[in-house]
Symmetry: C2
Subunit: 230 residues, 2 copies
């Protein structure tokens, strides 16, 4: 039932993801997806990532925190308050960013073969603090448009004070691996022959409910298309 | 738009979560949920967690991987193949386990105030390898029943060979923090006064689709209640 115990890209032509010791070794290599398009599909569908930084814990535990993200071409962007511990700990450091989608629960005939259908991307790289004002604005637009598409042109854009209060980190999407499981249960023949045990997949769906207007919003402000049609 | 930039429990009576340097400092302390019941609610609702281990990367990046989990009283359990790098790296080590739920997207009148409604738990602790056969079986039952409730009594239970191939780690739920954001956007007064900009919350829902029987399953095997009614 474990998900991606390890991420392992293989060579796959021009669009392959890089193979390094951090992304190479691992189990279930048949679950590897090595092309960059698959990485972008996972990123496009996910609302959040999990950022892992070594941090400064004397006991040695890393810090893993959920956060929104965006990307432009081969660069992933994260943001947060300039005071945030995760952003401070991540700035300039080697980080691991993991993006996970659960597509279904796999009910097999044995509990040992139970599993989850999933897609996940693991990205390693140095987190570069973005200081150039132009790149910073583009990065924030990418994050806003990834998380709430349409908001960059609808809501008020950040002013100088807000920009100064926001830290942005950039991580290259070059050292990455994508792993996925799909399809029905895979059971041993002896288990398949056992009568009466149900096996199959229960799909897991993520959807949006009806928009809830802010209580302070005048009643005549319509829900804009970028929210209504999402 | 950043989610839980840091997790910060506060004193909250008998059921409080522990406060340590790893869980204490942080921003948005008003988003802290300090009682244990809230921790269990987050765990109950989540399908996966993200396990962070320091690993052995010379560059210093931790390893963050998604995995299923379960818990019994104050112990969280993870499992995987005995060959899995994440389980080997985590065994005996201090780990960080993060469980995140996205409840909604917060469209504010400024992009700076955009946010996400979320609940997340961050758990720190030493990952103890579970070797006692009785505890190991209970832990696997907890993981199976957390992820696919009803399967432990429906599917074939693990045999000796399968148990030997499965590693289980235990982490105490004592050093943990829960953080949450809920409710409508919080905008500056000057932004609230701006006409025509929509603000509100788009709820994010996770649901199950119709069960898909395994192609090898005889047509007369009904979908059991524990799958049908989930």
């Amino acid at each position: 039932m474990a998900l991606s115990e390890c991420h392992s890209p293989t060579d796959h032509g021009d669009m392959e993801l890089s193979t390094t010791p951090r992304t190479q070794l691992g189990r279930h290599s048949e679950r590897t997806r090595a092309d960059r398009a698959e990485l972008y599909r996972v990123l496009d569908e996910a609302l959040i990532c999990h950022l892992g930084v070594a941090g400064d814990d004397p006991a040695g535990a890393p810090m893993v925190l959920p956060t929104c993200f965006g990307y432009l071409e081969d660069t992933l962007y994260l943001h947060g308050s300039t005071g945030a511990r995760s952003l401070r700990g991540g700035s300039g450091a080697e980080v691991c960013i993991t993006v996970s989608l659960v597509d279904g629960l796999v009910y097999s005939r044995s509990v040992f073969s139970h599993s989850a259908n999933f897609r996940s991307a693991v990205i390693y790289g140095a987190a570069r603090p973005v200081t150039d004002p132009e790149e910073k604005l583009l990065a924030l637009e990418a994050i806003v448009e990834h998380t709430t598409p349409g908001s960059w042109n609808h809501a008020r854009r950040p002013n100088r004070k807000e920009l100064a209060a926001t830290a942005v980190l950039a991580v290259r999407l070059t050292e990455a691996s994508v792993k996925a499981r799909g399809g029905p249960p895979v059971d041993q023949d002896t288990d398949v022959a056992t009568a009466g045990v149900w096996a199959g997949v229960l799909p897991v769906n993520t959807s949006y409910g009806p928009p809830r207007p802010c209580p302070l919003l005048p009643a005549d402000v319509p829900v804009p298309a970028h929210v209504r049609d999402r």
